[in-house]
Symmetry: C2
Subunit: 323 residues, 2 copies
């Protein structure tokens, strides 16, 4: 969470001049995003009454060929009434442009709201409903993106760390076998759409019990709707470290989703394994990051065990949780 590139007043003014948004008034680098840098920009606005935007600079991890998919998706969902930030197009009509020849930037709508840490059932209900609305709206989106973080990829990623896993925690190596069972029993032909894939509380802006923003779609891809719901369940219904499961929040999330889109019986039946697959994904990615990050790197490493604890809950109680 940092700003990786220094943008001077001179840089920003030149950039803003490419958009019909008035003159630059203020710019602050914000501490969000891991693969991109972000600034809050304030301008005089088209009407002189002031306007705010998020400027995103894509620093790494993103394939520029995929940028139109992500930005078009924002515009598609926004135009379908979702609280998703739309892009501001430049004077040539483009939703992104190059800065300094080597980095892509996009100017994006600024949405109100803050991220909650300890969601209430009411808030989880609202998030579930928004996710279902997003799934339905995304059915009409004309572009596709392969799910690169599918279950087989995640299992392979975890297996690639096999030697080091026990050094992180003695229980981690068992997760490989668990992951193999998930791959073996993987449900096919679930209803698909474009899924967010990373709808943690950090990526939802709320005011009270209202969802005011769904953000950070850079993991979005084609995928099973129920898997996206399972990721969201794992992200919202536990204490951060996975030590406590909040059944009331989980129930509210499921009810909120189904208040907009009823799950099919095969989706309901698949939820326990999908939720475990969600845990596999974050155990694998966190184990890799843990191994890649030196302990003295001044960066907080996220503990893969946070999602082993969740996985235990889904493995033991999944059938009852999603009954």
């Amino acid at each position: 969470m940092a700003v990786y590139t220094h943008l001077s007043a001179e840089d920003l003014a030149a950039l803003i001049a490419q958009y019909d948004v008035g003159e630059l008034v203020s710019a602050k680098g914000i501490a969000e995003g891991v693969s991109n840098s972000n600034w809050i920009l304030e301008t005089t606005g088209q009407d002189g009454n002031g306007a705010r935007f998020i400027l995103t600079m894509y620093e790494r991890r993103i394939d520029l060929a995929e940028l139109p998919f992500f930005l078009d998706l924002l515009d598609h969902l926004s135009s379908h009434g979702l609280p998703v930030p739309h892009t501001i197009h430049d004077r040539h009509g483009a939703s992104w442009r190059m800065f300094d020849q080597d980095k892509a930037v996009a100017l994006i709508e600024y949405l109100p709201g803050v991220s909650v840490d300890r969601p209430t059932p009411q808030q989880a209900h609202a998030v579930g409903a928004s996710l279902a609305q997003m799934h339905i709206a995304a059915l009409e989106f004309g572009e596709t993106r392969e799910d690169k973080l599918n279950v087989l990829h995640n299992l392979t990623a975890l297996q690639s760390c096999r030697e080091e896993l026990a050094h992180i925690d003695p229980r981690l190596p068992e997760m490989i076998e668990r992951g193999q069972r998930i791959c073996r029993d993987w449900p096919t032909s679930l209803p698909e759409t474009i899924i967010h894939s990373d709808l943690f509380p950090d990526n939802v802006l709320m005011l009270g019990e209202t969802v005011t923003g769904l953000i950070d779609f850079y993991f979005a891809s084609n995928g099973a709707m129920a898997y996206d719901l399972a990721v969201t369940h794992a992200a919202w219904c536990f204490d951060r470290d996975g030590s406590k499961f909040h059944a009331d929040v989980g129930d509210a999330l499921m009810q909120g989703y189904q208040s907009v889109r009823a799950l099919e019986p095969r989706e309901n039946a698949a939820m326990p394994i999908l939720a475990q697959a969600a845990c596999l994904r974050f155990v694998a990615s966190r184990a890799q990051d843990w191994i890649d990050t030196p302990p003295d790197a001044h960066v907080t490493r996220k503990d893969p065990m946070d999602f082993v604890r969740r996985w235990d809950v889904y493995a033991e109680m999944g059938d009852r949780l999603f009954a």
Copy 2:
């Protein structure tokens, strides 16, 4: 430059409720400050028309007993018409309060403007004039704070790194002798006030050629006005790495300052040594940081040589520069 503490929506709402500023609308951690964390907060405002603030959390390096000095200084300068952010007092009239029992926070006015990288002479003129206005307004400030980063402290700090200096750059050890000469010839009884001591371009907000904000007063202390001007000269009139001196910017800064407050002859005469003392300070602090920061710490270390190059200019040309 980071946000060191996570503040949830729940934390922020509870905090904002202590102030008469309306309801929380948005909060973004911003990538500014090294010894504190900062957020841009947006609220509905007292009148419902929206308002923005900077929330600062004091993380380290600051002695809480000194916080009233810094915050009272902001209020004093702001009330004297300087573009300095004033503090927002809480419902009990306090300019700061404790959060979670162990960290002080203050809510501070949000000012427009952006920091320039390559100041023009016109911009430097405006900054010089603002600095002089600040010096005059600060004469009436009733509180005092000892200058802990005085020239003797800085020389001692550099000497404490004696063993390691040559490993950073072969020229660095000579700077100890240079520093000793500065201490020996140090001018006394220059006019004093409360000085900013760190008025780099990062700490000045501008819109075009107008200064809209002087910020980050956490190095402010009693001190010689001309020394503050010398620090500002070293900060504004060179390329970032000190490789190029911009005489036109330097002349404009001096003229801008003197358009508000004429330097006394003894101040004029002292400028070359004061400018070298400014370089000593940043050479010493950067050398210490360099030694304290492991090369693989994912943190950009600032090169002390940036200020050795400036020091060379002042040592060789100082008498002519400030004639």
